[in-house]
């Protein structure tokens, strides 16, 4: 995607609060019209700072941010026409739900009748039509969240920003609201930029996810790519669960490489080279727990290692098994709770096998 048809575009953006360290390091990010992009990362990774720069609450130290083709660095927040949902909703406590939703329309000097009509429509959209006269404090967390969404959407902004909007909700409600926000996005066709540190939230909702760490976008990709083809050790670690081995590349071609594990086991693992440059490199191997087979048939897997079962945790749909493999005591295998699944006991000696293309050789 080129900068021309991007709706939101960060161009070489840097941000520093103290003049000594960069919180955001050279951010280049294009977001297409109608896209749902999530900025995902641990706290302190710079994702919220990026959102605040986009909303206009923090100036960029260097670089330009473009919205719909024009630079907005010098535009005041209230002139940007961006809807925003805040972490704790920031619903005005001295106004009723209806007045909260009417606020963006009133400051835009809409006529009284139009305000009433739009507020009603927006509240109906989030199924809170009957709550217009309540105070925000009288609503549950999920209802407050929906009011915040209605308030950010009622003036029909082309871009909506959400800063960890579901962080304060319990797990079930959070999942329900994820679908609700996703459907709002699909129905209204607006562009959304969403910030979260919850990877399952990001995977559920987004068209694309930008994984932030240390002020840098580590990988920008759609959810399946991000999960199945992480390009570095941080992304592999941060998205989903993964088993890690450390080793040294001993042989390599375009398709395959062989890695000798550290820690004296001298086992050689065949894997897919992703982020290694050549023989002799140190590397981190990443392997998803669900791609591991227990006691595979002879020749079924490229790699087979012996291990000892340390712990079994019954989780209903699968059994999470922790084992020692090589010098890794945290080797996790997910055994689906299907008919005829391997039934293991603590202390069992078993073989674990996996295909070479499921094992990715990443940066050390």
């Amino acid at each position: 995607m080129s900068t021309d048809d991007a709706f939101v575009s960060f161009s070489e953006v840097q941000k520093s609060y103290d003049g000594e360290t960069l919180v955001v390091k050279n951010l280049n990010l294009d977001i297409a019209r109608g896209e749902f992009v999530t900025m995902l990362g641990p706290s302190g990774s710079g994702k919220t700072t990026c959102l605040m720069m986009l909303a206009g609450f923090e100036p960029a130290t260097h670089g330009e941010i473009y919205l719909d083709g024009s630079a907005i660095n010098k535009l005041a927040p209230h002139k940007r026409g961006i809807g925003m949902v805040f972490q704790n909703y920031a619903l005005f406590p001295h106004m009723t739900v209806g007045e909260n939703v009417a606020f963006p329309l009133q400051v835009r000097k809409y006529s009284k009748s139009e305000v009433d009509e739009r507020v009603k429509k927006a509240l109906d959209m989030v199924r809170l039509g009957a709550f217009a006269n309540r105070r925000p404090a009288q609503l549950s967390g999920g209802q407050q969240q929906r009011v915040a969404s209605a308030r950010a959407l009622v003036f029909e902004p082309k871009l909506v920003l959400m800063d960890e909007p579901l962080g304060a909700l319990d797990k079930n409600l959070r999942e329900e609201m994820q679908y609700e926000i996703k459907h709002l996005h699909e129905d209204l066709g607006i562009t959304m930029v969403y910030v979260t540190h919850d990877q399952s939230e990001a995977l559920t909702m987004s068209n694309r996810i930008a994984v932030f760490d240390d002020g840098i976008v580590q990988q920008l990709a759609d959810p399946p790519t991000l999960y199945e083809e992480p390009i570095n050790a941080f992304v592999a670690y941060f998205i989903g669960e993964n088993n890690r081995f450390y080793g040294k590349v001993t042989d390599m071609n375009d398709e395959r490489c062989t890695v000798e594990l550290e820690g004296g086991t001298e086992a050689k693992i065949a894997c897919k080279p992703v982020n290694v440059s050549g023989v002799g490199d140190r590397t981190t191997l990443s392997l998803r727990p669900e791609r591991v087979k227990v006691n595979p048939a002879e020749g079924e897997c490229d790699n087979v290692l012996d291990g000892t079962v340390r712990e079994l945790i019954y989780l209903g749909d699968h059994i999470r098994t922790r084992a020692s493999v090589g010098d890794n005591d945290e080797f996790i295998v997910k055994i689906p709770n299907a008919q005829g699944h391997a039934s293991l006991k603590r202390g069992d000696q078993v073989c674990f096998g996996w295909a070479a293309e499921d094992c990715r050789a990443l940066d050390a």
């Binding site: 927040p77 809807g83 001295h94 606020f103 835009r108």
Partner: protein
């Protein structure tokens, strides 16, 4: 089944614990220890407040309408006057009893107490009583009626006796009336006192509007300071907080006197104004020993009482509200006025109540730098306590002040709600 249930209605009426005793009793018993402990903990403070605060206030309110001097010194006369119909002159019996008790009071040197009490409503009563008491020594036997009229013809005036009858009754509104520049005339009707004697109504109004003005001034001056305190980085705001608190910790007298240094006609401010040619040297403005002095001094002294509750409320308003308002399209001024200011109302309310109630009864500052035009009602309460010794009038003035404050608090509670108060 239904019949069976209705046969034992008592079992359904009361919730019972597992041992069959009513649940409420069990709960009370289980909580008794904790309740006793809590009660013992507050007991010292409760007693202290009772003896140093509640009882004195009750005594003050009682003193403002209960004035039993005549009944104490002339008990039988007071009782007979109470039974008398008040028409014309009283019968010989009352004259006789009065003469006897007055002579007795003269012996006990108690006439002054009675005569002063009557003097409040009937100027000249003091000399009438003392003169009559002295001359009654020469009257040995009755009839006393003509003898007393002989001593002073005022005793033949029905008005004097109707006043005496009214004042002999221990419960009186006379002090409240004089506290608002009214009095009973001889006929027992309420009328305004002569215009040159009217002082308290003006004083009450002055106290009220000056307190309102001082409250408004502290809001105007305190709001920006509190905003800075709540929003500056911690290091800077701590320094600012010390600047707010340092005068707060300094003696009230020192602060008030320092205003004399600044504001007097040869003072710092006047010198500066003259130096810059804003006023000529022989036309220095009077800025102290008048209302200006009182307002400036009290605003300064009461400012922390506005800043501290405002600060604590503002500290609790997250910056995301203003950001949300901005992102929703409000310019900075609209966002501030419509989103920030309404949320500081509990702080403004608490600060205003504190400052207003403190200033409505303020004494030291107006006494020191208020001159005569800057005196407040409390200065006159002090005057009646210390100089004129008319404690009943002081009590009536104080009670009116108390009722005004309670009334205003009631209104505040209806409008804003006392539970919205945040005092720090």
């Amino acid at each position: 089944m239904a019949q069976h249930e209705s046969a034992t209605p008592a079992a359904d009426d009361v919730m019972r614990a597992a041992d069959g005793k009513p649940l409420k009793d069990s709960l009370r018993r289980s909580m008794r220890r904790a309740k006793t402990k809590a009660l013992l903990l507050v007991a010292p403070l409760g007693l202290f407040i009772l003896f140093s605060f509640a009882l004195p206030i009750a005594d003050m309110v009682k003193r403002s309408f209960y004035s039993p001097e005549i009944q104490n010194v002339l008990p039988e006369t007071a009782e007979l006057l109470g039974d008398w119909d008040g028409d014309g002159l009283p019968p010989e019996q009352i004259y006789a009893t009065f003469a006897k008790e007055l002579a007795q009071a003269d012996e006990n040197r108690n006439v002054g107490v009675v005569s002063q009490r009557v003097n409040y409503v009937m100027p000249g009563a003091r000399s009438l009583f003392s003169g009559t008491a002295r001359k009654l020594g020469n009257v040995d036997s009755g009839p006393y009626k003509p003898a007393m009229i002989e001593i002073d013809e005022d005793w033949g005036d029905p008005e004097v006796w109707s006043i005496l009858k009214r004042e002999a009754y221990p419960i009186t509104m006379a002090y409240y009336l004089s506290a608002v520049d009214l009095r009973y005339n001889a006929a027992g009707e309420i009328e305004a006192v002569a215009s040159y004697m009217q002082i308290y109504q003006k004083l009450f109004w002055r106290t009220l509007w000056m307190s309102v003005l001082i409250t408004v001034m502290t809001i105007l001056l305190g709001f920006p300071v509190s905003y800075l305190l709540a929003n500056l980085p911690v290091r800077t705001s701590n320094l600012l907080m010390i600047l707010v608190l340092l005068p707060f910790w300094t003696s009230l007298l020192v602060r008030t006197s320092s205003w004399i240094v600044i504001l007097q006609s040869e003072g710092v401010l006047n010198d500066v104004l003259v130096t810059f040619g804003i006023f000529s040297n022989d036309n220095r403005p009077q800025m102290i020993y008048n209302k200006i002095g009182t307002i400036v001094g009290m605003t300064h002294i009461l400012l922390p009482f506005m800043i501290l509750p405002l600060y604590s409320v503002m500290k609790g308003i997250p910056p995301s509200y203003l950001r949300a308002a901005r992102s929703l399209g409000a310019n900075p001024v609209v966002a501030f006025v419509r989103v920030y200011v309404p949320q500081t109302i509990p702080g403004i309310g608490a600060g205003s109540i504190l400052v207003f109630i403190l200033s409505i009864g303020y004494y030291i500052t107006p006494a020191l730098i208020g001159g005569s035009s800057g005196q407040l009602i409390s200065n006159f309460i002090a005057y009646h306590m210390q100089q004129s010794l008319n404690w009943h009038l002081a009590a009536a003035l104080g009670s009116i002040l108390l009722f005004v404050v309670l009334g205003l608090y009631y209104i505040y509670n209806k409008l804003v709600g006392a539970d919205a108060l945040k005092l720090g």
